[in-house]
């Protein structure tokens, strides 16, 4: 089987690769001269300073960078958890905080409620008047999602009784249950061991490929960025500058082939290219890890 990892130095327009698979429409997220300064950083440098960027609709955009580079801040801005200090940030044409119904969110540590079993965790986004489904309908929908991530037999299990990988899958099911157009992921697979990670990443791709959903994922794992991303943005401190913007094209479905992809020459080339970029912009920021987390 031939794996083609095509690397293009210049991102072409709004990344055409994603435009093919994606539904019509402009970019799903647009940032114009975006500035963000933490209130506590009195008079210090802004974490993000003058960022202008578009995120293509229907694409998986991965933001990589060292701890403290501002990638979590950017994700929180897109999620409407933080407000820009200056500039403009629009999600699907609206202010981020007003677009929560269109978003699914997956935190780094599963973020599941320990007092709810798997299925009740997955129904959470459908409760509280956020969906028209009845209690029974919500359960059916949640069961469907859990089956899709391979946890059909574990619907009654509490998070404590599940492995790390299983918990992340429940978290993925929860993020997808409301059928959001936009999925925000904060280092979702960082806590998993290498083998489990490949498995969960595969499940993730299976659930996402050709779904037309737009994904913004942050990670510090370059391998993950290449395997999952349609586009990779390398972010760097200070000021959250974008050091590199790479499109990744891989022919056919990636799910189930991740372990083959990592040994291709194209993968290695892109990996080395990204390592060079990341290290060129790497400056350690004192105490930044704590602020970003």
């Amino acid at each position: 089987m031939q794996n083609v990892v095509r690397i293009r130095r210049e991102p072409e327009g709004m990344t055409e690769s994603s435009a093919q698979a994606a539904p019509a429409g402009g970019p799903v997220i647009t940032a114009r001269d975006l500035v963000f300064r933490y209130p506590s950083a009195n008079g210090g440098d802004p974490t993000i300073d003058g960022l202008t960027l578009d995120f293509a609709r229907g694409a998986i955009t991965v933001i990589v960078g060292a701890s403290g580079c501002g990638k979590t801040t950017l994700l929180n801005l897109i999620g409407g958890l933080l407000r820009p200090s200056d500039g403009e940030l629009l999600v699907d044409g609206g202010v981020p905080a007003a677009q929560h119904a269109k978003m699914g969110y997956m935190p780094a540590r599963d973020g599941l409620l320990p007092w709810r079993n798997a299925i009740a965790n997955v129904t959470l986004p459908l409760e509280g008047g956020r969906s028209d489904l009845t209690a029974k309908g919500r359960k059916e929908r949640a069961r469907e999602l859990l089956e899709r991530v391979g946890l059909g037999r574990y619907v009654d299990y509490f998070p404590d009784q599940l492995s790390h990988g299983m918990r992340q899958r429940v978290s993925l099911a929860r993020a997808l249950v409301s059928d959001p157009q936009i999925l925000l992921m904060d280092e979702p697979f960082g806590a998993l061991d290498a083998q489990t990670r490949l498995r969960v990443q595969s499940d993730f791709l299976r659930a996402l490929e050709n779904s037309g959903r737009s994904v913004v994922m942050i990670t510090h794992d370059l391998q993950e960025a290449i395997l999952l991303g349609d586009r990779i943005l390398v972010m760097s401190s200070p000021r959250g500058a974008i050091l590199a913007d790479r499109a990744v094209e891989i022919e056919g479905s990636r799910a189930g082939r991740l372990h083959e992809l990592v040994v291709t020459d194209e993968f290695r080339a892109l990996y080395h290219d990204l390592v060079d970029v990341v290290m060129s912009g790497f400056t350690e920021v004192p105490g930044a890890a704590g602020r970003a987390s």
């Binding site: 999620g79 958890l81 929560h100 119904a101 978003m103 969110y105 935190p107 780094a108 540590r109 599963d110 973020g111 409620l113 320990p114 007092w115 709810r116 959470l124 986004p125 409760e127 509280g128 956020r130 509490f158 404590d160 009784q161 925000l184």
Partner: protein, 284 residues
């Protein structure tokens, strides 16, 4: 215990019943281990009682001050047969329950309110610290002055002891809310009530239950103390009477009764805890 599996021994050390064994042989080994523990416990208690009895009979300790197990059993029998005892048990239990439940309700509510506002917390914390530092037992005469020789004087002292534990435990637990849960609640645009119901309250429940465990014993202590200082009924008042009339057997029997009452109340809280904190029932 020597033939217990390492896993079972480790789980036993953690103070939690070990997970169910897989094979029948393992079951039998486990059952034998449990039986050995039970028999050893019983033997230990018997041994201590025998030492006490012998020491009293041989005159190593003064019978009039220390009594002896056989006399206490006789006194206990007399107590249990008398009709008046039960009205006193009811009086003590009722006051404890009212003080405990009232203190829990007020403490949890205050903890939730103060814990949700940094401003309120900073304003009230010195005041609460001083109130908590007061020797509550010393307030008993004051409560009697306010409420007379009624159940409410006991309830007041009991409540004043229970309320702070629940307050501090609840407030502290609110500070431990998982940040990811908060983010999820914000991404889902949860209202205040939904957030409280699905995230804040369950987060606080283990600490609240731990507070209730200590609270029920302290609540009983408060009632007994209040009854000993000034009361017309209750086990505390009977204890004072027995010691004033030098009936050491009866005094010891009463203390035993109070301990049994405390154990029963504790077991009730235990039972409640297992129902309320269901998600921890068989974790790992």
């Amino acid at each position: 215990m020597s033939n217990a599996t390492p896993a079972a021994a480790a789980a036993g050390q953690a103070g939690r019943p070990p997970s169910p064994p897989r094979t029948e042989a393992a079951w039998r080994r486990r059952a034998r281990g449990e039986m050995a523990v039970l028999l050893s416990r019983l033997a230990l208690v018997l041994l201590l009682l025998v030492i006490w009895e012998v020491a009293a009979r041989m005159g190593w300790v003064n019978r009039h001050f220390a009594s002896q197990p056989t006399d206490i059993v006789v006194a206990l029998g007399e107590l249990l047969r008398s009709a008046e005892l039960w009205s006193d048990v009811v009086a003590t239990t009722a006051a404890t329950l009212i003080g405990f439940l009232g203190g829990t309700a007020v403490g949890v509510l205050a903890g939730l309110i103060v814990g949700s506002s940094n401003f309120v917390d900073r304003v009230t914390s010195p005041l609460v610290a001083v109130a908590n530092g007061m020797p509550r037992i010393a307030l008993a005469p004051l409560f009697v002055l306010w409420f007379g020789l009624s159940i409410w004087a006991k309830v007041a002292l009991s409540l004043s002891l229970v309320v702070f534990i629940l307050f501090y435990n609840t407030k502290g637990a609110l500070g431990t809310v998982n940040r990811d849960h908060i983010v999820v609640s914000r991404m889902l645009d949860m209202g205040a009530w939904e957030k409280f119901r699905t995230i804040l309250l369950p987060t606080c429940l283990p600490a609240i239950m731990a507070g209730m465990r200590i609270g029920i014993v302290l609540g009983l202590l408060g009632v007994i103390a209040s009854e000993m200082i000034a009361s017309s009924n209750g086990l505390g008042q009977m204890i004072v009477e027995a010691s004033a009339t030098f009936q050491i057997d009866r005094l010891m029997a009463l203390i035993l009764l109070v301990s049994v009452l405390a154990v029963i109340m504790n077991a009730c809280v235990d039972l409640l805890e297992r129902r309320v904190i269901w998600w921890r029932k068989d974790s790992k």
